[in-house]
């Protein structure tokens, strides 16, 4: 590698972690006297000035309700709100902006599909296929639907190494399968799931496929057309955006057939005292005043990620994950869950310490300014399947560095010195 190699120069200029870190005010905060090392990105990401600026700008310059007024502010806020939708559509390569619905978060997107599409299409004797490594939010709505409809809930298996058990597809998906709902990347194991293959198998069986992309859209290029998925759900707060806003992408023909999820303002076309007709997409699914400011700020987050390049982000996290897996593996008493091969996983590393409970470890790391997640990670059945009830988890994003991984490893050693005598 020569420094004059134009490709490498461009890339390093584009992916300058120091410059990225300077955009995140919170990263200079001291926690218990130590500079924050934020390794809980799978739970929520931090917010750059550009996104905070978009929120401030909205409230200071154009705050007004959308799709209603003829006044300047309302026209501007409507344009900004719809522009943000278009940015998201481009970001995931949706064929048209109206197949992007704003929701509160991934959970609401999943519930929307289970409650409307599921209600209309799943009948007694049908089955719903999910995987054994889903987040609770992609389990419970389907459990409820299956119970209500007398349908069967089936699970794709997970191997001991944390990969999806591909052999289980054959027995799970059949002609009575109505929907396959799977994560794109496990929030516990970091496993990347082969969506293209699952989409092919689902469609072959006449089923639709939904992808919980909460952990993938923030970290890797996601193209709904290339993946050939019917629904895709994710949250803005895990991709540099604000809390309280999420996305449901749906194939337009499906969304058009689906009944509304909530009823009220904006989602109607015409209301009489007796009845109502529904507005066009996407408004049919956006009852009431939407989360305008956060939608616009999500557009700013998408701009930020696009400028960095999702390929570059994925590459950065792959490099960091490989380094972290290697360094953490050197700790004798620590066992990493999930794939050993870094190329099969994203930047989410759950681990168990054989002598220190995750909560004690989490507290000891917090004393050193290091934020990790501890507990069952909203995936109780999966965590239990590894014969543990709780684990510690470090997860990375664009602003994390190798020296932060070192801080984590040293922090664990400090905790060992404290708890193990």
């Amino acid at each position: 590698m020569s420094i004059s190699d134009p490709e490498i120069v461009t890339r390093s200029r584009r992916f300058d972690v120091d410059a990225i870190r300077a955009d995140f005010p919170i990263l200079s905060r001291k926690i218990n006297g130590q500079t924050l090392v934020y390794l809980d990105n799978a739970a929520t990401s931090q917010t750059p000035r550009q996104v905070i600026g978009a929120l401030t700008d909205y409230y200071e310059r154009m705050n007004a309700n959308v799709h209603r007024g003829v006044h300047t502010l309302s026209i501007e806020s409507t344009e900004a709100y719809e522009l943000a939708r278009t940015k998201v559509a481009t970001f995931i390569n949706a064929p048209e902006p109206e197949s992007v619905i704003w929701t509160r978060n991934t959970s609401e997107s999943l519930n929307l599909v289970a409650s409307t599409w599921g209600q209309a299409n799943v009948q007694a004797g049908d089955n719903i296929v999910i995987s054994a490594m889903e987040h609770h939010s992609n389990i419970v709505p389907w459990q409820q639907l299956a119970a209500k409809k007398n349908a069967e809930l089936r699970y794709l298996g997970v191997n001991a190494d944390g990969a999806l058990d591909l052999a289980s597809i054959d027995s799970a998906i059949d002609s009575r399968t109505k929907i396959v709902a799977v994560t794109h990347m496990s929030n516990v194991l970091g496993t990347v799931v082969p969506i293209v293959e699952l989409a092919r198998r689902a469609h072959q069986a006449g089923a639709v496929i939904l992808v919980d992309a909460a952990q993938s859209v923030p970290h890797m290029p996601v193209d709904v057309q290339a993946l050939d998925v019917d629904f895709l759900c994710f949250s803005a707060h895990k991709m540099l955006g604000p809390t309280g806003i999420g996305v449901l992408y749906g194939r337009k023909e499906l969304l058009e057939e689906m009944p509304p999820y909530m009823f009220g303002g904006d989602m109607i076309l015409e209301v009489t005292y007796e009845d109502a007709t529904w507005n066009d997409l996407p408004y049919k699914f956006e009852a009431g005043t939407p989360n305008i400011a956060d939608a616009i700020a999500t557009g700013a987050a998408v701009d930020y990620l696009t400028e960095l390049g999702m390929d570059n982000i994925w590459e950065h996290e792959q490099r960091l994950t490989a380094y972290a897996v290697n360094q953490i593996s050197k700790l004798e008493k620590v066992k990493i869950l999930g794939p050993k091969d870094p190329s099969l996983r994203g930047g989410v590393i759950s681990f168990i310490h054989e002598a220190i409970h995750p909560h004690d470890l989490g507290t000891a790391l917090d004393r050193q300014g290091i934020a990790i997640r501890t507990g069952h990670h909203c995936a109780m059945p999966l965590v239990r399947s590894f014969d543990v009830v709780a684990a510690a988890r470090a997860s990375f994003y664009i602003y994390n560095t190798e020296s932060e991984v070192d801080a984590l490893v040293n922090g664990i050693s400090e905790a060992e010195r404290y708890f193990i005598r």
């Binding site: 006297g33 130590q34 050193q368 069952h376 009830v389 400090e414 708890f419």
Partner: protein, 159 residues
């Protein structure tokens, strides 16, 4: 390699963790007391906190309304394990009324309420659990076995 505290010439390690993990707590965590199973127990319960996976098996035998024998085993974080061990030590020989009063004292102590000197005398070492107050998410860990024991006693006495 040195930790981040040490690098900055701080306390050298995790000294300020001692607010929560007082010596007495670390001692009970590392060597829990009264872990032997109880023969023909009057009360035999499992308590757990699904959120952190902590679970304890609590057994005791009563003699004339006093706890004659107690055995607690389980798994959990340092706080919940030490708390269970401290509990086992305290309740031995106490009447059910005294035990329930002690549970009430612990509850109030962890809520940050004042307890009387008499209550503090009864609790003895257990007052060390009060350090957990500064770490609100861990109060549940400290209370897990106590609340379980209290519920079991209440149920037993109602029979």
């Amino acid at each position: 390699m040195m930790g981040r505290n040490s690098e900055r010439g701080g306390t050298g390690g995790l000294g300020d963790l001692d607010d929560m993990y007082e010596a007495i707590i670390l001692d009970h965590y590392r060597s829990p007391r009264n872990t032997a199973p109880v023969d023909s127990p009057d009360v035999d319960i499992e308590v757990n906190n699904p959120f952190c996976g902590d679970e304890f098996h609590i057994q005791f035998r009563l003699e004339d309304d006093a706890i004659a024998e107690v055995g607690i085993t389980g798994r959990g974080c340092a706080i919940s394990q030490a708390s269970a061990s401290l509990l086992a030590e305290l309740v031995k020989g106490k009447s059910t009324g005294e035990v329930r009063a002690a549970v009430d004292s612990i509850r109030r102590l962890l809520k940050g309420e004042k307890i009387t000197d008499e209550e503090a005398d009864v609790l003895g070492d257990i007052e060390a659990l009060g350090g957990v107050r500064k770490f609100p998410v861990r109060i549940k860990c400290a209370l897990l076995s106590w609340v379980g024991l209290d519920d079991a006693l209440k149920e037993h006495l109602a029979r």
